[in-house]
C-alpha cells in the first residue's frame, strides 16, 4: 500500500508529461497591429480573429511578416517609410505571398491559373483565403470552390491524381510525430518529408493533370524510401520492447533464485 502511495504522484503527473512532450506552438509577441486591430469590431478586427487560427499564427508569422510596417511603434506602424504595404491589389497577390512561397509562385505563374491573373483567374487568396490560411490539403480542390470559375471535371482528375500520395505523406507525418513524441530523432526525416511535401504541393499549382500523373511515381518512390526507414525504426522499437520484456523476466527469475539461495543459508542458520 505504501509503495502504491509513493508512486501515486508519479502516476498523476504521467499524462502531464505527454502534454509537455507535444510540440509547443510558436509564441507570437503581441504587436501594436494586434493590440489595435484585435480590440476593434467588424471589418478592421476580423483579420486578427481569423489569423489567430491560421498556420501562420501557429508558426509565429504575424501581421508585419506579410503587410510590412513597424510592429513596435503605434504611430509608425502603418507608415510606408517603415515598409508598410497594406492590402495588395488582386494582381499583386501572387507576388505578395510569393515573397516567402517562392517555389509555389513560380509554378502558379506558369499555370493556366497564373496566366489568367488579372483576367478573372484565381490567385492565392481565391483558394487559400487571406487571414485564416490553413495547411493545404487536396480538400481545397472541391466542387463548390472550383465551379465558381469552371467545370469541376479536370479539377477532380487532379484531385484523384494527388489524393493517394497526399494521404501517404500525411500518414508518414503522423508516424514521425509519434516517434518524435517518444524521443526518437526524426528531424532529418521530417525535413526530407517536408521538402517532398512542398515539392508535391507545388505540382498542384501547375494545374496540369498530365504533369501531376507523370511525376507522381517519382514522389511515391521517394516516399517509399522514407517509409522504409520509418518502418525499420518501428521494427527496432518492437525488438527493444521484446528484449526489455525478456530482461524483466530474467531479472524476476534471478530474484527468485537469489531468494532461494538466501533461504538455504537461513535454513542452515536455523538448524544451527
Amino acid at each position: 500500500m505504501k509503495l502504491i502511495l509513493r508512486f501515486l504522484p508519479i502516476l498523476a503527473v504521467w499524462p502531464l508529461l505527454f502534454l509537455l512532450s507535444a510540440p509547443a506552438p510558436a509564441q507570437v509577441p503581441e504587436t501594436v497591429c494586434i493590440q489595435c486591430h484585435g480590440a476593434q469590431s467588424g471589418r478592421l478586427g476580423e483579420p486578427v480573429r481569423l489569423w489567430k487560427g491560421s498556420i501562420h499564427a501557429a508558426n509565429g508569422i504575424s501581421c508585419h511578416g506579410c503587410h510590412g510596417g513597424d510592429p513596435a511603434d503605434m504611430a509608425m506602424a502603418m507608415s510606408p517609410e517603415r515598409g508598410f504595404l497594406g492590402k495588395p491589389a488582386e494582381e499583386a497577390i501572387p507576388g505578395f505571398c510569393g515573397r516567402c512561397h517562392v517555389g509555389v509562385k513560380e509554378d502558379y505563374l506558369t499555370s493556366a491559373h497564373g496566366r489568367a491573373l488579372g483576367r478573372g483567374g484565381p490567385q492565392c487568396v481565391t483558394c487559400h483565403g487571406s487571414h485564416a490560411v490553413r495547411m493545404a490539403t487536396p480538400d481545397l480542390i472541391n466542387n463548390r470552390d472550383c465551379t465558381r470559375c469552371h467545370d469541376y471535371g479536370r479539377a477532380n482528375e487532379i484531385k484523384s491524381a494527388v489524393s493517394e500520395t497526399d494521404r501517404r505523406i500525411t500518414e508518414l507525418e503522423q508516424s514521425l510525430a509519434a516517434m518524435h513524441r517518444i524521443g526518437i530523432a526524426t528531424r532529418e526525416m521530417s525535413g526530407e518529408l517536408f521538402a517532398l511535401r512542398n515539392r508535391f504541393h507545388r505540382l498542384f499549382h501547375s494545374v496540369d493533370v498530365e504533369k501531376v500523373r507523370s511525376r507522381t511515381a517519382a514522389f511515391q518512390s521517394e516516399l517509399g524510401t522514407i517509409r522504409g526507414r520509418v518502418d525499420a525504426i518501428e521494427e527496432e522499437l518492437k525488438r527493444r520492447k521484446l528484449w526489455g520484456g525478456a530482461v524483466v523476466a530474467l531479472l524476476v527469475i534471478w530474484g527468485i533464485l537469489a531468494w532461494l539461495l538466501h533461504r538455504s543459508y537461513m535454513d542452515d542458520k536455523k538448524a544451527g
Binding site: 517555389g103 530474467l250 533464485l257
Partner: protein
C-alpha cells in the same frame, strides 16, 4: 538434492543469468558509444573541377544527402549541405544574385553559407573540400 550441490546450482544459475542480463544491458550502450561509420575515403566524392565554373554551383549526393560545391571566386571552392536549415527543403543557387535561395520559404544564404535573410536559424552545414589535380575532393 544435497544442500551444497543445490547451492552450487543456484550460484551457477545466478551467475549465468547475471552475465546474460549484463550482456543485454551492455550491448545497446556499446552500440551507442561506438563511432558512427563516416565512410572514410569511400565517403569522399570526386568532382571534376571543370564541372564547377567560376560563379557556378554543382549539386551532387554526399553520403546519401544533397550537397553543393560552389566556386564563389576563381579558384575559391566551398561545399555545403544543400539542405535548408529552416525546414529541410533543398536550396538552389542564384548565380545572378550570388546567393542560395530556399524555394519553400525564401531563406537566403551567402556563398559562404551564412544566412542573409528569411527564416533559417543557422548557416548551411559546411563540408570540407580540397583541390586534387583536376578534381575536387569533397568530404
Amino acid at each position: 538434492m544435497e544442500v551444497s550441490s543445490r547451492r552450487k546450482f543456484l550460484v551457477l544459475s545466478l551467475s549465468t543469468l547475471g552475465a546474460l542480463v549484463a550482456g543485454v544491458a551492455a550491448y545497446p550502450l556499446f552500440r551507442y558509444l561506438s563511432p558512427q561509420p563516416t565512410g572514410g575515403e569511400k565517403g569522399r566524392v570526386n568532382i571534376p573541377r571543370a564541372q564547377v565554373g567560376a560563379g557556378q554551383a554543382h549539386f551532387f549526393q554526399f553520403r546519401g544527402h544533397p550537397a553543393v560545391v560552389l566556386q564563389s571566386a576563381p579558384g575559391v571552392f566551398a561545399a555545403f549541405s544543400a539542405i535548408c536549415t529552416h525546414l529541410g527543403c533543398i536550396i538552389r543557387w542564384l548565380p545572378e544574385n550570388g546567393e542560395f535561395l530556399c524555394p519553400c520559404h525564401a531563406g537566403r544564404f551567402a556563398g559562404d553559407g551564412k544566412v542573409l535573410g528569411g527564416p533559417p536559424p543557422k548557416p548551411l552545414q559546411a563540408i570540407p573540400v580540397a583541390l586534387s589535380g583536376d578534381n575536387l575532393l569533397v568530404g
